[in-house]
Subunit: 759 residues, 2 copies
């Protein structure tokens, strides 16, 4: 854990420049707007250690997979998040020296991420090798008001000299991916243009043939006047720029504006993309930085109005939770049904793909609670769009009759993951996708979704479970063999309780959905049944039989559910007795040792008790928590939040707070030593859930919000805003009580600590 | 299954040239001599489909591994069997046409592998594109009398023309591996030389820096006279040759001899290797083809004297068994303690590495039964030499105190395999290495081996088991979690009966070895105990406790041992009910489907009953055989032989014969559709065991040979020769009885069908 950044309620602040932290800060200070994103790379040249990253949503490269031993069923490619053409470059040469912080003496360095307004602000004074001193103040944002626009305000003031400077405004598509299986570059050039005041490059991804056009222009002001320098427009392979020579005068600030339009063929016809980009760029530059920024900032104001969480008495926690909300909202805005929430968002390349079960299990509740219902709906529709591919994916593995297995990782619905114990066996992801439908309908009341899209997906998933579950003559019960549960520190186990439970639940809920749609939309029902050749009697009879005779491992003496059949054969030594030097296990232990151990990477049985907590009494939850929590190492960022929520529910307040600390500042304090690769975007939703569902005890039952809040001893108060069926309410919990204020929407009733309450 | 080759008792015969079979034939007709080997590639140019392969024993390349997701404990490299500099090339150009069977009309093509004498013989008539007809007769061998010498006799007779021909005698080190993870070439050039009558190239492997010097010379005769042509000596990158222009006269045979010396730095100092090669080459060429061949053939005569198996009444079976013995003896001669038996021998690159548990479990019994005891001893010493690396390998996985885990695949003792479920979990290989010590001592009576090398290895392995086995509080017994048994169609299972059984047996035998060495060689005993810091009381007490309280799964009702804890939870549908189009499973089914299925790739519980058959009564063996055999798909070449031996023991003669058919002609009939990659060398030893231990019922008990033979209905008679403690005896089994003849050594007693018999 590192405490490098200053604590502040609305800002992330880095003071002083430490090159060792640069990659970490590049991740943390990333900007995005749902359409594109940008790591906090410097505008000017930097020859030190850096991880360059510009990302355009939906644009990926299907990198040829690398496997040790090929297994039937493996996918041919792994979709890589692409480092896209760079638009932020403003290289500055003063005399013979390049402004490059690696080669300068740097003082007064400060980097601020203003979360309230979505602005990255950096300032410093640099002494060039020849002694020239220059002060720089750089601001930039990726517009939330127009997802295709980025803008930079870069001010430069000579302190002890006057001299000519050449400023290079570049667009560079000759970029590399750090995450490339065979060290290839992924972009080809389609066209480029460079003339005074304009540089445009259109690049195409190999294989996938996405086009991205990046167009830039700029303006310069000094002492209230427009500065026009000598301009040279250059082109080289995948690259275009303008090099402008201007005079810098001692102690006089020159303000440089750079505007970029970044358009992708996902949203523009390839034939018109350059034209559209240039038009967009022109409009933006005419508006200018301040107007663009003000439109951008007002979108952020509206976001915070709906979803802010405040914490009094703990500024680190306050900063942490806002950072998480900020990054989530930068990553996914819910407007585009084709997009999803990548595990690193727009902050890094790692893990490739864009969609994991994180979306359904962690992110959906966040967007349900903070955004218009259409955002959650779009996340669900995304999976419906991929249903046919999930069916094909299941077919590849030997399933048939419309059984659907959603991929572990995907960009376009096709499986990208290639590790048999995950790809073929971590099938509980299918359950999370079914549960998300239930969760969405429960929260929004939008039962029509079942008719429109939900039922078809549910049937595909239930068909999968029905085929994946087999009958054991020895047990005289149904079993599910060869699965990997949420705890990836066990692989290929039998009868993982969580997976078996959610499978049975899916079949039950599918039956409910069948009945609902038949009753409410008979025409649609018949049409769907015919289209998917549903043999209702036969299929639902088997589902019912499975639900009745499913083997769900439990140990009656201990009163716990069994993570898998042989769990109790393991040596059960609590995590606290592990040697410090053995942690984290995934870096210190061989894989077989981890697998044989009792250590749980992330909530597994407890994940089930969390999702279905209304089906278990508190004593049962407590017994399982007491058994599994001491064996859990939380080496997944998705783990602690589930423990917060359960611990809160069973009254383990200290434990809940301890777990909360592990989740809320995971990236800010680089807990897992890997923030340099990007932030843990999806798990940030877990932090939000920790506060709202954990401390706040929020649930939805029978169409109403319920709250059972408590306040951690360490805090004075906390409050969260919730969007629920057209209402926004603010729940404030302090030492003395709970205050609820309806901020918009009609009067409503909620259940507070069991009591019906008007808000 | 393909029946492409002619049946013959001593020869493999291909008649007619079918390019589609060329790779398969290149494998089957391979030559070797333990030191080097050569696929049956044509001497003359061939532009059709071919897999070029020249191999030099012990020379390998550590190719950078390719993995999907790196796991702690994985090795950095996978040792690749190297395609070495080619020495066989004799390119022939007549007029403007290259002699290239791809471009000629070919008639009378015949390829013969004379197994009796170790000679590859090929003849054909080719019509060149311009109508010139030429008859070719080519013979070659890799000398068993001198492992560094290869010789070719290539005769060429113009049928309808006279013309000049240019003959190119090449050495080509610019070769590629088919099996290369990153498509790199593995050789650098060190030096080359080309002058009239000589071409030499010394090449060095990248990273491992082995040197191989290949030196060639040649001679030509026609009509009883030496032919000297116009010679041009050429060099290019990694290549040297002599191009000789000679006149060919219609209907007159020209005989070309090419001699090669292939020396490696494993056997020669790098500074002297070229000089030594040239000297060797000169000696060989002075002797000439006929003398070299006669020395070579007499080595083969001696081999067959010791280890031939004859089968009367079934020429296909006769050919099959001799082919297997021939290939084994070509691959490993037992003279060099550094060498071992690669799964493809010198017939292909596939699987890399050189040493698998195949050596101990399958090949050792063959060499014990057919060769001087020093051959078996050398195979054991090979593992002793690797003990320190096995200890390091175990340390990488978290074991300590001298615990040794031998690698799954190795060249020099380091693990090469990188697939966690195999590398880290298929640990029964350790048991096979312990058992081999027992097997060798039992067969040869060389108990001193225990003092010299055996005990140290046994203790290392027992220490591993002792740490790998843990105590289950739930079962109140010891368990072994997370293993892959011999049946690789189940991974990461718990309590694999075979592995647990052989682990306990190892600890028992190690105790026996401890007692033996203490009693017979007290000084050595104390020295060893001190060197390896053996805490005798503590360690052996734990071993004894484990043996006493080990959980070995069984089902009392079925009367069977359980392959693993959940085996009976599977859907048990016999192999015969599988659809034809589902076979072979490993090509048709996804990996998870295979894992969840009941289908057994190769003997697992039955492997244990085979190794320890004196510890189980026939009824027990029968019950387990009846249960597991119908579920076994034999998709490993190592499987059927175990079934032959057990079926023979329990009187299932038809089944034994059926299984035998699957093993004996596996490559000759390309049963598994993969012979083009090379022959299944190690499993060939299983075929020998099938006859000797299966049909012949041979066992060693109390220092004596026992036989319980039967004869398959389909055969008239069969006989095998056995080398046993200085005796060679010939056992002939016919419909009317058993005949035993002592062929060398002093008179001895054997036990035939339970009766003490003088031989």
């Amino acid at each position: 854990m590192k405490q490098y950044l200053k604590h502040n309620d609305w800002q992330i602040i880095e003071e002083g420049f430490d090159p060792h932290y640069n990659r970490i800060s590049e991740s943390i200070f990333s900007l995005g707007n749902g359409r594109m994103g940008q790591r906090a790379n410097f505008e000017e040249a930097y020859s030190g250690d850096t991880h360059q990253g510009t990302y355009v949503a939906g644009v990926y490269y299907p990198d040829k997979t690398r496997v040790g031993w090929w297994k039937n069923g493996y996918p041919e490619y792994f979709a890589k998040v692409l480092n896209a053409p760079a638009w932020t470059g403003i290289q500055i040469k003063i005399g013979k020296n390049e402004l490059d912080l690696k080669k300068c003496k740097v003082s007064g360095f400060k980097r601020i991420l203003d979360m309230k307004q979505g602005l990255l602000h950096r300032s410093f004074t640099a002494t060039l090798p020849d002694g020239k001193k220059v002060k720089v103040d750089a601001k930039r944002f990726c517009s939330m008001a127009d997802g295709e626009i980025g803008a930079i305000r870069y001010s430069i003031t000579p302190i002890n000299f006057s001299a000519n400077a050449t400023i290079t405004f570049s667009v560079d598509a000759d970029v590399v991916n750090k995450d490339s299986n065979y060290d290839e570059k992924f972009w080809n050039e389609i066209s480029k243009e460079a003339k005074a005041g304009l540089a445009v490059v259109t690049a195409e991804t190999k294989k996938t043939l996405f086009h991205v056009t990046t167009a830039i222009t700029y303006a310069m002001h000094s002492a209230g006047k427009v500065v026009r320098g000598r301009v040279k427009a250059n082109k080289k392979d995948k690259y275009a720029d303008n090099v402008v020579t201007i005079p810098l005068k001692k102690e006089v600030e020159t303000v440089i504006y750079k505007y970029a339009a970044i358009l992708s063929s996902e949203n523009h016809p390839k034939k018109k993309i350059q034209e559209n980009a240039k038009k967009k760029l022109k409009d933006a530059s005419l508006k200018g930085f301040d107007k663009l920024f003000s439109a951008h900032a007002s979108v952020w104001a509206e976001i915070w109005r709906k979803c802010d969480i405040t914490i009094e008495g703990d500024i680190a926690a306050q900063q942490g939770i806002r950072f998480n909300i900020f990054q989530l909202m930068q990553t996914y805005t819910g407007e585009d049904q084709r997009l999803n929430i990548g595990p690193k968002g727009f902050t890094g390349e790692k893990y490739g793909g864009s969609t994991y079960w994180d979306t359904e299990a962690y992110c959906l509740p966040f967007y349900l609670g903070t955004s218009d219902p259409k955002v959650g709906r779009n996340l669900l529709v995304y999976r419906h769009k991929h249903l046919q591919r999930a069916i094909e994916n299941a077919q590849k593995l030997g399933f048939n009759k419309g059984a659907a297995l959603y991929p572990m990782v995907t960009m376009n619905g096709e499986e990208c993951h290639n590790e048999w114990e995950i790809t073929f066996e971590e099938i509980h992801r299918n359950g999370a996708i079914a549960f998300a439908i239930y969760d969405y309908v429960r929260y929004t009341g939008d039962e029509k979704y079942l008719s429109e899209f939900g039922l078809e997906v549910l049937i595909g998933i239930s068909r999968f479970w029905s085929q994946r579950i087999t009958y054991s003559n020895a047990k005289q019960q149904y079993v599910m063999l060869g699965v990997t549960g949420p705890n990836e520190y066990e692989n290929n186990v039998n009868n993982n309780w969580y997976t078996s439970y959610i499978a049975c639940w899916t079949m039950e809920y599918t039956q409910h959905a069948l009945d609902y749609v038949r009753r409410h939309d008979a025409a649609k029902f018949s049409k769907l049944m015919a289209a998917i050749k549903f043999e209702e009697k036969e299929e639902t009879t088997r589902w019912a039989d499975i639900r009745k005779k499913m083997y769900l491992g439990e140990d009656k003496k201990l009163g716990i559910y069994l993570q898998q059949d042989n769990f109790l054969d393991k040596e059960l030594i609590p995590v606290k007795d592990l040697r410090h030097e053995d942690r984290p296990l995934n870096q210190k232990w061989s894989w077989d040792r981890i697998l044989r151990s009792c250590y749980i990477k992330q909530a597994d049985v407890l994940q089930g008790l969390y999702l279905f907590d209304d089906q278990f009494d508190n004593e049962t939850i407590k017994r399982n928590f007491d058994f599994y929590e001491p064996l859990t190492v939380h080496e997944s960022s998705l783990s602690p939040c589930v423990h917060v929520i359960l611990a809160s529910k069973i009254g383990y307040k200290e434990k809940a707070y301890e777990m909360y600390l592990r989740t809320s500042r995971l990236d800010l304090d680089d807990y897992n030593n890997d923030t340099e690769d990007g932030c843990h975007i999806t798990s940030m939703a877990g932090t939000w859930m920790s506060v709202v569902k954990g401390f706040g005890g929020m649930r939805v039952k029978d169409g109403m919000l319920h709250f059972n809040p408590f306040i951690p001893d360490q805090w004075k108060s906390y409050s969260f805003r919730i969007e629920f069926r057209g209402h926004v309410i603010n729940v404030k919990v302090s030492k003395t009580g709970v205050e609820m204020v309806r901020e918009s929407g009609a009067p409503m009733q909620v259940v507070l600590n069991g009591t019906l309450t008007n808000v």
